[in-house]
């Protein structure tokens, strides 16, 4: 399960870029979100959590 803390997210796009399954996007309002319908594609690899400079996205196993 992914957990996003939007209040911390600055929409830098790092997680989006390094997600191997293209699960994430930065929305119009500049926040990270799960692309519609893509949640089941997440393989819980933890790349997003490891790289986020703002501790705004976590993988709960």
């Amino acid at each position: 399960m992914l957990k996003l803390i939007s209040q911390r997210c600055k929409g830098c796009g790092i997680c989006v870029n390094f997600c191997p399954k293209k699960v994430l996007e930065v929305t119009e309002v500049g926040k990270c979100a799960i692309v519609e319908g893509k949640a089941p594609d997440c393989i819980l690899c933890g790349q997003c959590e490891m790289r986020c400079p703002d501790y705004a996205i976590f993988v709960e196993k």
Partner: protein, 278 residues
Amino acid sequence: MGMEQIAEKYFRPGRLPHIWCPGCGNGIITGAIARAVDQLGLDQNEVAMISGIGCSSRSSGYLDFNTANTLHGRALPIASGVKMANPALKVIVASGDGDCTAIGGNHLIHAARRNIDLTLVVYNNSIYGMTGGQYSPMTPKGSKATTAPYMTIEPSFNLLELARAAGATFVARATTYHVPQMVDAIAKGIRHKGFAIVECVSACPINFGRQNKAGAPAKMMEWQRDHAVMVAAWEKMPAEKKAEAQAAGKFPIGVLYETDAVQEYTEAYDGVIERARR
């Protein structure tokens, strides 16, 4: 522990989001310091974190250790004082490339020369970020800066060779792309008894990236991925290939040098105390 729990445990309550710009590497390095302390299982009260001035030096205000955000370039002398007063503390120093190699350059070589047991984490984003993008001694030659609109003409320091030549007994490098390696290098640096320096190659997407058309933060991290070479592979390279790699801007990461053959400073100072008491 996952990063969520680490942020919860090691960051002061209510301080997040931090002040750094979107995609700034400072958050990754500060997170790596917290991860390293967690990996070592240290009590937060046993850890002191001293920083100088600059964007990266804000880090000490976020982490819940014994902390002090001090003067520009002067983190090392203050950290040395802390260590002298209480050698049982694990003292981590956070310093930017400008803070550490320009105004603080003299303190750097002398802290290294003394082999005092500090762990210096250099947030190297190749620029003075906080003041708007002036070049530092770590800015690669041929970069643009607000103080070099026609590009810098000076070679940059090889910081780790400088530190090693001055007497540092643990020398490592990582990048903000290589997070596990960074955590490992910082943890090993903290464990090392003596002067440890960990250069963290980082990105300032705003004040370095924009002027140098380096692209989005992720692009700057891809540059790190494509230019860092693991030390084992680096050492195996024949001289010619290494020179080629260096010319292409590549650099080794990992623990580059470590020795325990030199006496640590506070330990040597115990001898002074003893002699004075006799």
